[in-house]
Amino acid sequence: MAGVLPADAARENSRGALLAVEALTKVYPGGQRALDGVSLVVERPEIVAIIGSSGAGKSTLIRCINRLVEPTSGQIWLGAAEIVGVSRRELRRLRRRIAMIFQEFNLVERLTVMENVLSGRLGSVGFFASAFRRFPPQDIAGAYAVLDRVGLGGYHDTRADALSGGQRQRVGIARALMQNPDLLLVDEPTASLDPKTARQIMRLIRELATERRRPALVNIHDVALAQSFADRVVGLKSGRVAFDGPPSALSAETLTEIYGAEDWSQTIRRADDETEGRQ
């Protein structure tokens, strides 16, 4: 794994972490305790897969970090900046440093690919500039470069609703990269895609996070995919961290601990055969 660059060092908090989640708890209005004291420290630009069964709190954890879901208690540090306690105004500034990729892509369907990609820059332009789509030349150049990088060169004027699922997710990734984020939050990026496209998308996310030396938190329900593409796996069970370690440490016992009893032999062997992208 590549070491932390000096540029990243400035963004670390006092304990040297890029992201630190401390005793994060979320209780929904119905009384459901989705997160129950989750702590998680990311010190390197690594791909962290978050696994767990439905309802274990994976989505809530990711969404608490940029406060699309409002945490009940706990702290979240992005470098030296605390996220939970800040005002809406300060939150908007912090959100510009955190990019998110969604399961349902969440592109603005009736806008073009270019407009969607440039929406990643909204935080840096004013209202009238965004109304008339007047983005700075370096943003436009950056958008073309990012579209080339994700394999969508030439699609800039296509409307989002005319794209396939895999293409839409590539636009979602391009939009996230346009933020030049310090942290990537990825919420079930492959759940709406076929298996082959899912692997391509995971590979792309891995490559881009590695190229840019940024950490990524990836919710994923496919254990084999998580093992293939992650540097580290965090298992959630009933809102608590049940496992935190390298993919190689995942055993049938730990999977049973996270998900409950099942025959895991196929899952684990397949993952070992197809491990890729890791140095």
Binding site: V108, R110, G120
Partner: protein, 272 residues
């Protein structure tokens, strides 16, 4: 008759009815209530039945007085006809501009708080509950007779119509697309602009064109209260018993209404 090997199944009755006795009785009571309401309305209105006796003769007489249409009147009404369309178009455009902020104010998911929502809803109701012709009376009193009063009347009635339908579209907008824009750190105004407005664009365009079509029809009678357009000429012709002119005006109105309806249908069919 052959019997099947099992014993008769007594779990189900022999006769099936769609409605229970209670539902049937309730149905008849509702029917009786509606019939009573209709009978009450007729008796309360003091209708002069004698007028019905020769109604067909009166209708035939009117038709004969209208025929043949006085086509020489047509050049006189060309300008007011065009003015009618201008009133409808300008009124609709003003309503469109005003309806966008009003729609965001009146939609639950974009309004600031309960108070602003109540203001938005109150403005919607005020605009919608007053007929265009009544708005015309009000604006003739303010601006004096003429097209300006007509434009204001059309705009005042249409803004609530447009804002109500757009506000409903905003409330139904896909949450995921909005969240994605919020997650980029965009300001609230930018989220509305980039995350919501494109989603409601088809509704915005569709209802605006549809409202324009309605406004062309409504503008044709605004002249009755002095608010400009062809209505003034229709009203004057009726008052002078110039029935042959009335037929020409009605025919002309029919033509522009048909054209506006065709344009509106064509545009709405092409929105995607």
């Amino acid at each position: 008759m052959r019997t099947i090997a099992t014993a008769p199944d007594k779990r189900y009755p022999d006769v099936w009815r769609r409605r229970s006795l209670r539902e049937t009785v309730t149905g008849w009571l509702w029917t009786a209530a509606i019939a009573f309401a209709a009978a009450w309305s007729v008796s309360a209105l003091d209708i002069e039945w004698a007028f019905f006796v020769d109604a067909h003769e009166q209708a035939l007489d009117l038709a004969q007085r209208m025929w043949p249409p006085r086509w020489s009147y047509l050049p006189v009404i060309v300008r007011p006809l065009i003015e009618t369309i201008h009133i409808a178009t300008l009124g609709t455009m003003i309503a469109l501009v005003l309806s966008i902020p009003l729609a965001f104010l009146a939609a639950r998911n974009t309004t600031a708080n309960g108070f602003t929502w109540a203001i938005g809803r109150a403005l919607l109701v005020a605009s919608r509950s007053v007929n265009t012709i009544i708005w015309g009376l009000v604006f003739v009193a303010i601006f004096g007779p003429g097209a300006v009063a007509g434009i204001a009347a059309v705009a005042a009635r249409s803004v609530g119509f447009l804002a109500k339908l757009v506000a409903e579209a905003i409330e139904e907008a896909d949450r995921g697309q909005i969240e994605a824009i919020e997650a980029t750190g965009a300001s609230t105004a930018q989220v509305y602009l980039v995350g919501i407005l494109p989603q409601v664009m088809p509704v915005l365009i569709g209802t605006t064109v549809y409202r324009w079509d309605i406004n062309v029809r409504e503008s044709s009678v605004l002249g009755f209260v002095g608010a400009g357009g062809i209505g003034l000429y229709l009203y004057a012709s009726i008052n002078q018993f110039a029935w042959q002119q009335v037929l020409v005006v009605l025919a002309a109105i029919l033509v522009i209404v048909l054209v506006s309806e065709a344009v509106s249908a064509y545009i709405r069919a092409r929105i995607s």
